[in-house]
């Protein structure tokens, strides 16, 4: 899945500075973060069942590991978390796509294992892909709402953190969140 499609430089609502250097730095940051999250996510899924894949924990771990890297040092933790949210979304969408297409073809290889909760799993993957498409639509209509959804759902942001990031009140955020949920829900039910 080409990373170029989902450039970190598309994080416009919270990043007014669009100089080429800044954009490049964001792209690099995104690549690093994405790779790191992917690695962490894989290692966690191989771990024991009781391991809860909390996005906050993953992002914190990624931040701790990457904090020393030159590209990351320039970003603030909140900014990093924002990039991580985008990377997390990309990661899950990729996994969901692989999952959805996995059933067809590739049957020559002997080892294909599925989770027992197969039915739920597939349904969730479709939901994720639908949400991803709908979120892209929302970003065109109301970028701020899309940012809030991405940050909160994929990045585990607290309302207060989003308020600080976007420099708006928590009340506004909660209003937007409610409206976004309703609209996205409507979109998704129309699609299925």
């Amino acid at each position: 899945m080409p990373l170029r499609n989902l450039k970190a430089s598309a994080l416009q609502p919270c990043d007014p500075d669009k100089s080429p250097e800044k954009r490049q730095a964001l792209d690099d940051l995104f690549s690093l973060t994405y790779e790191e999250l992917r690695r962490l996510a894989s290692s966690v899924k191989r771990g024991d069942r009781s391991n809860t894949l909390s996005p906050t924990a993953l992002v914190n771990e990624a931040w701790l590991k990457l904090a020393g890297s030159p590209g990351v040092a320039a970003a603030s933790p909140l900014h990093f978390k924002r990039v991580a949210a985008r990377a997390m979304r990309q990661l899950l969408v990729e996994a969901a796509r692989r999952r959805n297409s996995g059933k067809r073809g590739g049957a020559e290889l002997p080892l294909i294992t599925f989770d027992e909760s197969l039915h739920t799993a597939l349904a969730t993957s479709r939901d994720l892909l639908g949400l991803n498409a709908a979120l892209d639509e929302l970003a065109d209509l109301e970028p701020r709402q899309a940012t809030i959804v991405e940050s909160r759902f994929f990045g585990g942001f607290e309302t207060a953190e989003i308020a600080e990031l976007l420099r708006i009140s928590e009340a506004t955020i909660l209003r937007d969140w409610r409206a976004a949920k309703a609209w996205l829900g409507h979109r998704l039910s129309k699609a299925s």
Binding site: S54, S69, L92, E108, L109, S125, F153, W183
Partner: protein, 511 residues
């Protein structure tokens, strides 16, 4: 949809939510008028809102876990010139396939790290590093034939297919004796030493990476793979590692902390492997700990002595206490928390394994004593009661005995044991305070000597040793004798600090 319409929908939605549900329909009808579509959009949103089962309210954890839980195989039958025949096994990092080379006909193993992903900028470096690794040519190292990345960035490796069992399993199956285990360990160490001499660090040594074939020969696997998994795009001299991506039980403290990795990192892992081979247990029991707790144990807790651990398992044939004491030194030196206090290279580790097998004293002991002496000397530069002369005498005698010990390799066994006893005595002299701190700062030479006398008295089993010790102590006492009366006198009139320089004491003497 244009933005004005969108804004309208939004404000209608928010206004409607302020009203009680019963009034919403009529409010919308009034506000939208002929635009039925507008009203139905808002109503649909309101329905979603009141239903309250949005996916977005679910924890990402649940959603993510399901999506990531399933392992999908990618549909690949052919891997370049290799044809995949089946699956050899699955490890923590990926799958290992059995494959066949169409044109050459020989079988190989292909390891695919499905869960790893290399960014385009790193793929070139990866290919270069793998070419270096393919040049590693040693009978005990599984040959790497080829390595590259798939178009989507997944790394893969083609290597010699090894038919064998893990080292620990082999020893268990064949009920290997202590010597046999040490010989196997020695072979492993030689392979690691070879790799080090070619500037390659393994970083993930563990029994499952060390296979033993039916003919008893060793094959080491996965050289350099750990580095590919863990390295981020950071400067070459810095390699960070992630806790979950390596087997914690064999990981060194510096790996856990994410510090720089060096050849001593492999030495540490070898120490753990040796510990396990000789005692039947791992030095730390990490089974019920969280990763954070395990990290603390590895970086901060001291492992139990192999001699004690072995008593618990009673796994090995009875070995005498002196030998177990040496095994303690072998394992614990290799496993020291500080890399620079471990065996400086695998070569020195192999040397001490050879010493042990030949019944000779270990070099690590002499090094440990030298370390303690160094600490003592540094701390007692301005000691409470001492003179330069006495001090030099004591240090000189200790150095003499240490030198005797290092020459012990050429001595007959009995002679060597004799020297070892003296060395042990000397070690005990410097006991007082924990090993890391060295003897207590206020340890007086007098106290040390008194202790020495007590311990010499206790050594009545070996008259030769005793005689040697008494002679040593006698010499020191003789020198001290002149000063003792002086010191007692000075103590009564001591200043607050109680410190006397040589000059002061000499002045008193003249008086």
């Amino acid at each position: 949809m244009d933005s004005t319409r969108w804004q309208r929908i939004q404000s209608l939605f928010h206004d409607a939510t302020e009203l009680p549900p019963s009034q919403r329909q009529s409010f919308l009808n009034a506000a939208c008028g002929a635009d039925v579509e507008l009203a139905s959009e808002v109503i649909a949103m309101l329905e979603q809102d009141s239903a309250g089962n949005s996916m977005l309210d679910r924890k990402l954890a649940d959603v993510a876990r399901h999506t990531l839980a399933v392992r999908c195989e990618f549909p690949l039958r052919d891997f370049g010139p290799y044809r995949i025949l089946g699956v050899l096994g699955e490890g923590g990092m990926g799958v290992v396939y059995l494959a066949e080379r169409g044109d050459l006909g020989n079988q190989v193993a292909i390891k695919v790290l499905r869960d790893a992903w290399l960014s385009p900028s790193r793929r070139e470096r990866f290919a270069r590093e793998q070419r270096t690794l393919a040049q590693l040519n040693h009978p005990s190292i599984a040959q790497l034939y080829d390595a590259d990345t798939l178009p989507d960035g997944t790394p893969w490796f083609v290597m010699e297919r090894v038919d064998g069992v893990a080292l620990t399993e082999y020893c268990r199956q064949h009920q290997c004796s202590l010597e046999e285990r040490l010989q196997l360990f020695r072979s492993v160490s030689e392979a690691v030493q070879y790799a080090h001499s070619n500037a390659v660090i393994h970083r993930d040594l563990k029994p499952s990476n060390i296979l033993v074939k039916t003919d008893g020969t060793i094959r080491l696997l996965d050289f350099g793979i750990a580095k590919q998994i863990e390295a981020l795009d950071v400067p070459v001299d810095q390699t960070r590692t992630g806790l979950r991506l390596m087997t914690p039980a064999y990981a060194s403290p510096e790996q856990i902390r994410g510090d720089r990795v060096g050849i001593q990192t492999d030495v540490y892992s070898l120490g753990v492997i040796l510990y396990e081979l000789l005692t039947g247990q791992l030095p730390f029991d990490l089974s019920n700990l969280t990763p954070a707790e395990a990290a603390t144990v590895i970086t901060e807790h001291e492992p139990g002595k192999p001699s004690i651990a072995a008593k618990r398992t009673a796994a090995k044939a009875p070995v005498d206490n002196a030998a177990w004491s040496d095994i303690d030194v072998l394992c614990l030196t290799a496993m020291h928390k500080e890399p620079q206090r471990r065996y400086s290279s695998v070569e020195t580790l192999i040397r001490d394994v050879d010493h042990f097998l030949a019944g000779e004293p270990l070099e690590a002991r002499a090094d440990a004593l030298g370390y303690r002496i160094g600490k003592f000397v540094r701390r007692n530069r301005r000691s409470v009661i001492t003179t330069a002369v006495v001090f030099a005498t004591v240090v000189g005698l200790i150095v003499f005995f240490t030198l005797r010990l290092t020459r012990a390799r050429n001595m007959a066994q009995a002679e060597a044991a004799h020297t070892q006893r003296i060395q042990q005595f000397m070690m005990n002299l410097f006991q007082g305070g924990d090993e890391a701190a060295g003897p207590a700062t206020d340890m007086k030479v007098i106290t040390m000597m008194d202790r020495g006398v007590q311990q010499a008295q206790a050594l009545n089993t070996d008259p030769r040793v005793q005689a040697d010790l008494y002679e040593t102590l006698g010499g020191i006492y003789r020198k001290l004798g002149n000063w003792i009366a002086l010191i007692r006198c000075c103590n009564k009139r001591s200043t607050g600090a109680g410190y006397y320089s040589v000059k002061t004491a000499a002045r008193w003497r003249k008086a």
